[in-house]
Subunit: 280 residues, 2 copies
């Protein structure tokens, strides 16, 4: 079975965008819509089993743009650090088995009760140093994702593309890269210069829009491309000018979209991709 | 009538923290609590009248740390720009009459329907250039407040201290400064270096804490110093090392705190100030 003829040649469905679909449903949805790639989530993969999931996407002819996600590297105690390392090594192995070259990392927030942001950031660097060689051996890149500063306390102490690059550049380019996710970085006054600086470090370009008001759960406020305040044409030009030619992954956390039939969501994704990101 | 003996010698009550108090009530609250300064809001001042408000705080012996707020400078059309200029000139005059040397500016978000962040930022610079000489003549500084990036679309296209300094440094130091507000800047990986750079540009140091979860209205999520994730001791040391010796203003937007009796709020402010910001 091979993929349908595809029009949006660089578009990838990040699986969280169709959260209510199982992995087999998401794979079929991509085939039906002509979307050539998928970004997988570890929890969904686990439901199917890693080997079976790998077989499923391979036989469908889909590329795996990323695996989401590793990270959470800020534990201060030896047990916490050891557990984080073990978990990330498993995630790297899964990424290799699934056939993707990119493991997205959400680095983790402040440990409970801590206000030591500088220390938390140092621990991220330390654990990256332990993981990077293993990633290189497997041919999988650790892709540091700066998260919007509103998630600094609880999810990611890496908040800007510049900061992610400061970390990534300590390692060989094939071992550690960065994610440019429109939602997290669009506001940054240094965005243009940091995307240019990123160059070959860009391991993934993820898109969704900044919409207002923020919902009660700030995690779930992302909108379809075109529904909010982000200038995708300009950002895509900048990412392209930096040399990135890889997948453009739509990753949306939004209850309303999650409750929309998946096929409708994919149709909207393709329309918006052509209207705002890449002309057909 | 003179102020009571004061222990927290640099503490100022930003009036929004006791939103349900009128100006006369807030002035009396500061006197009762021994707080020597107040940051005024234009809407509260207008209820009393500018001349009467000026007389009230002067006779109470209170310093006026700031006037909040001017700004909203991103309108793209001539009428909108003209109206913004006129409004800010009025605010500068009020600041001078009230006896403060600092007008806090929230620069404004993206105009309706616009995704042109670069253009909006340019318009802020253009209107600052028109306002700055008038501010200098009155002895009032325009204090650019970078707002947290989650307010970039709708309230302030200036999101970092570095960006605020890039703007401020185009003008004489006595005309344009910056606000360091802990809530807005605490996450910034460049915070230490940008505070050091700011030096004499620091026109105001405002404090409140980053608490989670964010409430339904993200504007209202601020907590008392000590209730959240911010390391105030370190930030205060950095601001002090940069040469700032002015007021430390507590500015909290929070429905629960607004519904607390003002005297209780001021007591908590003083306790937290001594515990986390400045030893008594």
């Amino acid at each position: 079975m091979s993929a349908q003829p595809v029009s949006p040649s660089r578009l990838s469905l990040n699986q969280i965008t169709t959260k209510n679909w199982s992995l087999p449903e998401a794979v079929q949805g991509c085939l039906d819509a002509g979307i050539p790639a998928i970004g997988l989530w570890r929890d969904k993969v686990a439901e199917t089993g890693v080997a079976e999931a790998a077989k499923l996407v391979r036989e469908a002819g889909l590329a795996v743009s990323t695996l989401c996600r590793g990270g959470f590297l800020t534990a201060p105690d030896p047990d916490g650090r050891h557990a984080a390392l073990a978990e990330n090594l498993r995630a790297l192995d899964e990424a290799a088995e699934l056939g993707t070259d990119t493991l997205v990392l959400v680095v983790g927030g402040l440990p409970d009760g801590s206000r030591d942001l500088v220390g938390a950031r140092e621990r991220v660097a330390e654990l990256l140093a332990e993981l990077a060689p293993h990633a290189g051996d497997l041919g999988v890149r650790l892709a540091i994702e700066p998260l919007h500063p509103m998630f600094c306390a609880d999810r990611a102490v890496v908040s800007t593309l510049g900061q992610a690059l400061d970390l990534a550049e300590r390692f060989p380019v094939e071992q550690v890269g960065v994610v440019v996710d429109s939602y997290h970085v669009w506001w940054d006054p240094e965005l243009a210069s940091q995307i240019a600086r990123a160059g070959a470090r860009i391991a993934s370009y993820q898109v969704c829009d900044w919409t207002l008001p923020l919902p009660a759960d700030a995690l779930l406020g992302r909108g379809h491309v075109g529904d909010g305040h982000i200038d995708f044409r300009t950002m895509t030009e900048q990412v392209t000018a930096a040399g990135y030619t890889g997948w453009i992954e739509v990753e949306i956390f939004n209850d309303t979209i999650w409750n929309t039939p998946g096929a409708d969501t994919l149709r909207t994704m393709i329309e918006r991709h052509h209207a705002h990101v890449e002309a057909p």
